[in-house]
């Protein structure tokens, strides 16, 4: 009873604490937990794989002594738990070990390949959003009309035609026949190594450097793969936008907006779309994260040295350090994007506060 009395009057804690510090703390703990889980699963996968990391290093013909020495050097003779902690320690220091495939430290490799993917995925997502959202909105507004059906077919082609088909066809037409875009690779040979790599994203690096001819060339190379990736996210984003919009359009506040005499344009783009911002952000973040995971086939076809290709190559050649390093980085990006979209959610949806 006394307790109840006390609580009734009690508005304990400052609003700052309530709105920012506590949620931030919770978020951090949850990131940490997810990361730890991610590391644990990667670690387990690394051990489960029927691939001997020692053999990969010392080679087939190594003697028993060499083998044992290498094994010891890798810490593989220690108990699993200890190995796990060593692994975590290494990862925290950004040390994923050496890649067998490239003979470079994995962290260095990732620093090299990730910006390529980041650049591609970002542009692709931009494309997907810029076209996908309006397409979804229009399809919802004109539900059942031919435009809705066309939007559906467009989206489904994106879903069901494998990217290498679209990619190679695109290359053939726009590069091979028409010559409108650059070919495979990130740059033409003569533009290579001209601008210093600051971010690793050539578009940004060249812009920072003010070297617009490199920028143009890089753009001509990225535009096709980015469009293709964008097509995939467009497919997803437009379908999701459509279904969110359908829900909103039957809401009562939309009728209110119409009662107010607002033009249909305003009703749809301002009122209805405003209400799906939050859901859209989540969807976009998810599709962005998926693109960041790297579309292996796109990267292969366009000779794009990105992380998807890197991880897959490593996987095929049993380069476990590289696989695990790549996985941890991709996972981290994923988790961060998730959190980012949560934060935006708080920011955009007044009800979430």
């Amino acid at each position: 009873m006394a307790l109840a009395e006390q609580n009734r009057g009690g508005r304990r804690g400052s609003p700052f604490l309530k709105h920012w510090v506590i949620p931030a703390g919770k978020t951090l703990v949850s990131i940490a937990a997810t990361m730890l889980g991610l590391l644990f699963v990667t670690f387990v996968i690394g051990r489960v794989m029927p691939i001997d990391p020692v053999l990969s290093i010392v080679g087939e013909s190594a003697s028993k002594a060499t083998y044992d020495a290498a094994r010891e050097a890798l810490g593989l003779d220690k108990p699993l738990v200890v190995q796990f902690f060593i692994y975590i320690g290494d990862v925290v220091r950004g040390d994923f070990g050496m890649s067998l495939l490239t003979a470079h430290p994995v962290s260095e490799d990732i620093k090299r390949v990730f910006p390529a993917t980041l650049e591609l995925a970002t542009l692709g997502t931009l494309f997907g959003v810029v076209l996908g959202v309006p397409l979804g909105v229009i399809a919802a507004v004109k539900r059942g009309s031919w435009i809705d059906q066309v939007a559906r077919v467009v989206a489904l082609v994106g879903y069901s035609m494998p990217i290498f088909w679209l990619g190679l066809m695109g290359l053939l037409i726009f590069y091979g026949i028409l010559g409108w875009v650059g070919g495979p690779g990130r740059l033409d040979i003569f533009y290579e190594d001209i601008v210093p790599a600051r971010t690793g994203m050539i578009l940004i690096d060249s812009a920072l450097d003010g070297n617009w001819s490199v920028f143009r060339n890089a753009f001509s190379h990225i535009v096709l793969p980015a469009t293709l990736l964008g097509y995939y996210s467009l497919a997803y984003i437009s379908r999701m936008t459509r279904s969110f919009m359908l829900e909103q359009l039957s809401a009562e506040y939309i009728t209110t907006a119409r009662v107010k005499g607002l033009p249909e344009r305003t009703v749809i783009w301002r009122h209805a779309l405003g209400n799906i911002r939050v859901q859209l952000i989540t969807v976009i973040a998810l599709s962005y994260a998926n693109l960041l995971e790297g579309s292996v086939l796109t990267e292969i076809i366009f000779s794009w040295p990105g992380i998807g290709q890197y991880i897959t190559n490593a996987l095929l050649s049993a380069d476990m350090n590289a696989v695990l390093g790549g996985t941890v980085v991709v996972g981290l990006i994923f988790i961060l994007l998730n959190i980012f979209s949560d934060l935006l959610y708080k920011f955009f949806d007044p009800r979430a506060k």
């Binding site: 991610l38 699963v41 489960v48 794989m49 059906q149 559906r152 879903y159 494998p162 190679l168 066809m169």
Partner: protein, 309 residues
């Protein structure tokens, strides 16, 4: 109640009734109403017809296929569509693409059905438990979901197969195991809205346990949004199965699995476009059908949309 009563009415009336006389009739009537809604949607019907067609093709493959899907003819390889005896052309070993597509529908259906059962099933289980239980169970389950979601799909699939061994069943399992997290999220979101509703409270007041509530009361309502999502994901599943092929997990040659056929055709795409395009079109048609069906089902299954329109 007289047993013979229904016979006096026509079947249609019997199904359309607002006052069913038995559980069976009520269920049949509910299905029939759904069917009517569905039938009113031309697009959804188109989807259904395609899928029924696919089922028939799969069932009668040996009778429908003009040729043996495995017979090679190295002299007659890479024939364009419409050439003598090969409506859709031949592949690099001179096999008839149409026949391979027809036989491949069996494998495709098999993969699709298996994944469609496992992945949403697992997602439903995890999502509803997390959503209903709340608290730390929710936190733990959703963290796990996040971890799986954050994992590059291929790596995860390979790890599973490393543990399970290769084979098409395991490939399907691997795909399912990488595909469940989004379903779990959907199911959880749905559960969160359902769990505080009055009808759940009402069941609680009868002393029903959490398990019963989840299975009997929450699942039936989550399933509709899952089905819609699953039908959207179908093309992705078919392609993912093909993608696992190059890790040695997918269908093994000479199996005419559609995704594998596309991969095989990749080499010839610039000069012999049909080798990859034909199976691509098949996948496109089927996923379009699933998608149209999904949209129709959404209308039928969504209790909120009720009897409108």
């Amino acid at each position: 109640m007289s047993v013979s009563e229904p016979h006096k009415e026509s079947w249609r009336e019997w199904l359309m009734t607002d006052a069913p006389h038995s559980r069976g009739q009520a269920r049949a009537a509910a299905w029939y109403h759904g069917w009517l809604t569905f039938r009113g949607n031309a697009m959804a019907m188109a989807g259904l017809i395609i899928l029924v067609g696919l089922l028939l093709v799969a069932a009668f493959a040996p009778w429908l296929a003009p040729q043996d899907p495995f017979t090679q003819d190295l002299a007659g390889r890479l024939q364009p569509p419409g050439s003598e005896g090969h409506l859709l052309g031949t592949d690099s070993l001179g096999r008839d693409i149409l026949s391979r597509l027809i036989y491949g529908s069996r494998i495709t259906l098999y993969i699709v059905l298996l994944v469609a059962l496992i992945a949403p099933g697992a997602g439903l289980l995890v999502g509803t438990i997390a959503g209903y239980a709340g608290g730390w169970i929710d936190v733990v389950l959703m963290r796990i979901t996040d971890i799986f979601l954050a994992f590059p799909r291929l790596v995860l699939a390979l790890a599973f197969v490393a543990a399970l061994g290769a084979g098409i069943e395991n490939a399907v399992l691997a795909i399912s195991l990488t595909a469940w997290p989004p379903y779990a999220r959907i199911a959880r979101a749905e559960t969160l809205t359902i769990r505080s509703s009055d009808y759940i409270s009402a069941v609680k007041l009868q002393g029903a346990g959490p398990l019963r509530i989840i299975i009997k009361h929450i699942w039936p309502l989550c399933i509709s949004s899952l089905i819609v999502r699953v039908t959207l994901d179908m093309a992705g599943v078919i392609l993912a199965a093909a993608g696992l092929g190059f890790l040695g997990l997918g269908a093994q040659p000479p199996s005419p699995e559609w995704g594998a056929m596309i991969s095989e055709g990749r080499k010839f795409i610039l000069d012999h476009w049909w080798v990859a395009t034909m199976p691509g079109l098949a996948i496109f048609t089927v996923s379009l059908a699933f998608n149209l069906l999904g949209d129709g089902l959404r209308d039928v299954l969504d209790p909120k949309s009720g009897d409108q329109g």
